[in-house]
Every structure is written in C-alpha cells, then in structure tokens.
C-alpha cells in the first residue's frame, strides 16, 4: 500500500516538474557590442551554410588519378574506424574499465596503426589533412 502511494506521488512529482519546465526562461542578455553581434551572426551563417544543405555529399574519383582517389577514400575510412576505436579506448580508460595491460596494448596498436595510415597515404601523395570526408549532416567524419 505504502509502495503504491509512493509510486503515485513520484508520478505526480514528475508531471509537476514537466509542467513547470514549460515556462520559457527569458535571457536578459547584456548589451551586445557591434563586434559580438557580428560574431554571433557569423556563427549562425556558417552553421546554415555547412550544416543546412539537404543534398547528399559527394565523393568523386578523379579519372586522371584514380589510384590516389581510391587510396584517399580507403585510408579515410580506416582512419575513421581507428579514431572511433581510440575514442572508445580513451572513454574506457577514463572509466577505469581497462586493465593496465589492456591500456598499454590498445594504446600501442592505435599508435602503430596511425603511423601506418600516414605512411601509406604519403606513398600515394595523400596528406594527413586529406584523410577526411564531408558527409553532409553527419558532418566531417572527424
């Protein structure tokens, strides 16, 4: 019986919180300087420009240099996966769910893999900065 009363009260509290949150908070901004205003407008325009396009992004192999184009795509995908692995490893290292040995092994593997990617890229004339792909709404892969 007590449990049901508690559950009902908890449900009512949740509803009250949800309704209370409906009221929009009006931010009384400090007076904007002209340059601050311009910067915020810049930001808005840049976001609209880079994020607002609805057409799919493109990857197009240059027929005069197909090898390089393909190498760039392949290595970009490898680097993408490597970055995901690295991010996950760092997260788990922070959370303490990796043993010291695992941390060491993973770190070394990630380090070696990055060196390998950069070296192979160099052989095809692909710079580290080229290892990226604009995927529209997904944003740049990295």
């Amino acid at each position: 019986m007590a449990k049901r009363i508690r559950a009902n009260r908890a449900r009512k509290n949740t509803k009250r919180e949800m309704l209370r949150a409906k009221r929009r908070v009006v931010a009384r901004s400090p007076a904007l300087t002209v340059s601050e205003l311009a910067k915020l407008d810049d930001l808005r325009r840049e976001l609209e420009r880079t994020s607002g396009s609805s057409s799919p992004s493109r990857w197009n192999a240059d027929p005069d240099d197909v090898e390089r184009s393909v190498a760039q795509l392949v290595l970009t995908l490898v680097e993408f996966i490597r970055k995901l692995l690295e991010r996950q490893a760092i997260r788990r290292m922070e959370a303490g769910t990796l043993t010291d040995q695992q941390t060491e092994d993973i770190g070394r593997a990630l380090m070696k893999l990055e060196e390998t990617v950069v070296d192979i890229a160099a052989r095809f004339g692909v710079l580290p900065d080229d290892l990226n792909l604009d995927l529209g709404p997904i944003g740049k892969l990295m």
Partner: protein, 230 residues
C-alpha cells in the same frame, strides 16, 4: 510519402495535440524500448527559417509531454519503417543510455565571444595527425602514454578558462557539459534539471555580473547537444 523523424523518446505518450511541420499527425514507432516520433511528409524538408522554427516548436511540444527526449537532427527522413527499425535496433543500447542520461533534464546554452585562438571545428576532437609531443621515453609504457596524451588533448579542448570564474555558482546545477568552438564563438551547453532553469539563469547572470564575464545565456531547450555520446 516518407517518414520525417522528430525525436526519440522512451515510452509512447498521447501526442494528439502536437502536429508535425507540415501539419501532419504524429505517430510513435516502437523498437526495443525506444519510440521514434515520426510524421509522414511528401519530401525532405528544406532548411528554411519557417521550417526550422516549426521543427523546433514540434520538438519542444513533444518535450513538454515526456520525461526523456532525444531530439533528432533536422531533415532526418526515412523511405520506410523497415530502414528506420533497422537503424534503431542497432543503436538500441546507446539510445536507451542517452535517454536515461537526459531524463527530466534540459539544455541551457552559454555563449562567449572568444578571444582565444580559434581551434576551427573543435568539438573536443583530436586533429588527424594525433602525434602530439615527442616519442615517449619508456618503451614499456608507450601505448599508455599515447592514450594519455590523446586524453589530455581532449580535456584541453573541453576546458573553457573564461568560464572558470562563474563555475562555483552553477556547479550544483550542471549534470553534463558540451563545449564547441566555432567562428570565434565559444558555446557551452549545460544539462540541468528541468525545474531549475530559472535558478540556473539567475545564478549565471549574477556570477557573470560579479566577475565581469561577458556571456549570453539561452534556454531551456530540449537536450539537443546531449543526444549523442560525444
């Protein structure tokens, strides 16, 4: 007709009073404990100011009726339910975890026009050539040092020294934080309990006034910046 996805929520709720950006009825598609709120539209919505404002209004209307919501990126459409189901099923664990993290919480946004060097597109991401610092000395701990270096880079990107003077005043509200640097503006999003939005804003403005930090506060919003894991 395609499906426009507005948000992901935890449990189906009555949404009769809420309509989509084209005035369409909304329905929930449930996949493994996550419900996608969708509407049928004729084509992918263009990012016009009108559509954006409408979409934001739809998301906030849904948010007012549910305890936990993950807003979906504007313009997300699917050709059929099967594809949407497939995507949701493969992300079920992460989505449920994010729903738990944003339950009964809202996003407040602080912007500072930065005077620090622009990191370009920085959402705490490391540059492609992550070779920071020199070769680690001790061969036996190379890997560990490498990861710790990368962690340090991430942490530095997350730091906003300009906000330090006001942090004590708002620490008790802040459940999570995301930092972005773009176009010379530093944007800090805070995840706070929904009911504390006014108290948070008052605390920020008071502390900013006392310490002379120039910033702009807006919110509360549905937790757009906390909808994913990075």
């Amino acid at each position: 007709m395609i499906l426009c996805v507005y948000a992901l929520v935890g449990a189906p709720r009555p949404l009769q009073k809420v309509t989509g950006i084209a005035g369409e009825r909304l329905r929930g598609i449930r996949v493994d404990g996550v419900v996608a709120i969708v509407g049928e539209v004729r084509r992918r919505p263009a990012a016009s100011t009108r559509n954006l404002r409408r979409y934001a209004a739809v998301v906030e209307s849904i948010a007012a009726r549910v305890p936990a919501i993950l807003p979906v990126r504007f313009g997300t459409t699917f050709d059929d339910v099967a594809e949407l189901t497939l995507v949701l099923r493969s992300r079920g664990t992460a989505t449920r975890q994010r729903l738990r993290a944003v339950r009964l919480r809202a996003q407040m946004t602080i912007r500072l026009v930065g005077s620090d060097p622009d990191h370009g597109h920085s959402r705490g991401q490391t540059p492609v050539t992550g070779r920071s610092g020199g070769r680690p000395r001790n061969k036996a701990t190379q890997g560990t040092q490498y990861l710790q270096q990368q962690l340090a880079v991430l942490r530095t990107a997350r730091e906003v020294p300009q906000l330090a003077p006001i942090r004590p005043a708002i620490r008790r509200f802040v459940k999570d934080e995301r930092v972005e640097r773009r176009s010379g503006v530093i944007t800090v999003h805070h995840l706070i309990p929904r009911a504390k939005a006014e108290r948070y804003r008052a605390a920020v403005e008071r502390a900013a006034g006392e310490t002379g930090v120039r910033l702009f506060v807006s919110g509360p919003f549905a937790p757009y910046a906390f909808a994913d894991n990075w």
